[in-house]
């Protein structure tokens, strides 16, 4: 009995084609692509609600204006007045990550759908990190040319230590896209595995019966409730961290410290 309820916590990250089969070509429409479009639709609908442009905003408009103001002021404080140019991109990744994260937590299994968290794929977080990093590189070299390398030499570095410091700074700079991508990917995958594993404890605990089984199942259920609350927080925080780090990196490129 217990062996039949084997639950694979990694199955939720499986990508399966909705049409055709996975053959490595770009145009296979997968469940991952479907959920990306669901995120797109939700973001779009959410933003449309803020487009009424009334003088006295309703709740929805206020919410949309609050989020746009949040991202705009984040760029204004980290980059300065020139940060306006980068608001569309930072807003794009912030909204996409936020909605994808939250959508992955929704209990679609109740209506029989297999939920899929787009941001738990490092292909996805990696692309966004690489785009952000490319923006930083292009902006940096466009504005400062070869002087952009001064970013890797902090003020007041002794001449003797210059090569070493330069290498360390360069390394930490090059690691940025990876840390950016992996942070979000790991936070999402860890949370979902944790919830899935403890969810399987609930099922297996009741299936095992006896005195200990249900007790463990109930304990696990309470734990899941707490973890889910934490996950909702993590969803928002990871979206915020990704957007904030992107704007801080852009600040490096624009202002060179």
């Amino acid at each position: 009995m217990a062996a039949e309820t084997k639950i694979d916590p990694m199955h939720q990250f499986q990508i399966s084609p909705l049409a055709g089969h996975l053959d490595g070509t770009p145009f296979v429409f997968t469940n991952s692509a479907l959920w990306m479009f669901v995120v797109l639709a939700l973001v779009w609908v959410f933003m449309l609600g803020g487009m009424r442009r009334q003088l006295v905003p309703g709740r929805w408009q206020l919410m949309v204006e609050g989020i746009t103001g949040f991202v705009t002021s984040m760029l204004a404080t980290s980059v300065g007045p020139e940060g306006r140019k980068y608001v569309p991109w930072v807003f794009t990744i912030f909204m996409f990550i936020l909605f994808a994260n939250l959508l992955g937590l929704m209990p679609f299994a109740l209506v029989g759908a297999q939920p899929f968290t787009v941001t738990s794929q490092f292909t996805v977080t990696g692309v966004m990190a690489i785009i952000s990093f490319s923006i930083v590189l292009v902006t940096g070299f466009w504005r400062h040319g070869i002087k952009f390398f001064k970013l890797f030499i902090p003020h007041g570095t002794p001449i003797g230590l210059l090569p070493l410091i330069f290498l360390i700074e360069l390394l930490s700079f090059m690691v940025r896209p990876f840390s950016l991508a992996l942070r979000l990917f790991v936070a999402m995958i860890a949370g979902h595995i944790l919830v899935e594993v403890f969810g399987s404890f609930v099922v297996q605990g009741f299936a095992a019966g006896g005195a200990m089984g249900p007790a463990i199942a109930i304990l696990s259920f309470v734990f899941i409730a707490g973890v889910m609350a934490l996950e909702v927080l993590v969803c928002a925080i990871q979206a915020y961290v990704f957007a904030l780090l992107t704007s801080l990196y852009i600040n490096d490129a624009v202002n060179l410290h």
Binding site: L22, R53, V124
Partner: protein, 163 residues
Amino acid sequence: MPQINQLAQVAYSQFFWLLLVLAIIYVGIGLMMLPRIESTVEGRSRRIADDLAAAQAARAAADSVEADYRARLDESRAEALRLANEAKAAAARANEEQVRGANAAIGEKTAGAEARIRASSEAALADIEAVAADAAREMAARLAGLDVAEDEAARAVKAVIHG
């Protein structure tokens, strides 16, 4: 981990659809909706600022109008006070003049009357002297048979009357 196991099979599909979705969000929302929402917010805050400035100006105007009104009120009050004082002074002066005129008239009349009284009493006194001198001469002629001259009798009477 499916993310690694499937990497070769799904990577291009993931990249393609993700870039498509991100491009749609970037262009449709980031470039088209976002500036409008921001302009709405800016327009609102500008309007609030304008309204506040207008209210400030209106209050200043109201204050100045009130100050003006107060000044005019004070001015009018002072003017009224001055007019009242002037009228009072004029009335007092006219009164005084009248009283003085009346006094003068009364004094004149009194002085005239007194002069007439004095003249009458002097005339009466003179008459009394003449009558007394006549009577004394008559009495002297009748009693003593003396013929006293008129002016002598008059002198004697005067000496008696005036001591």
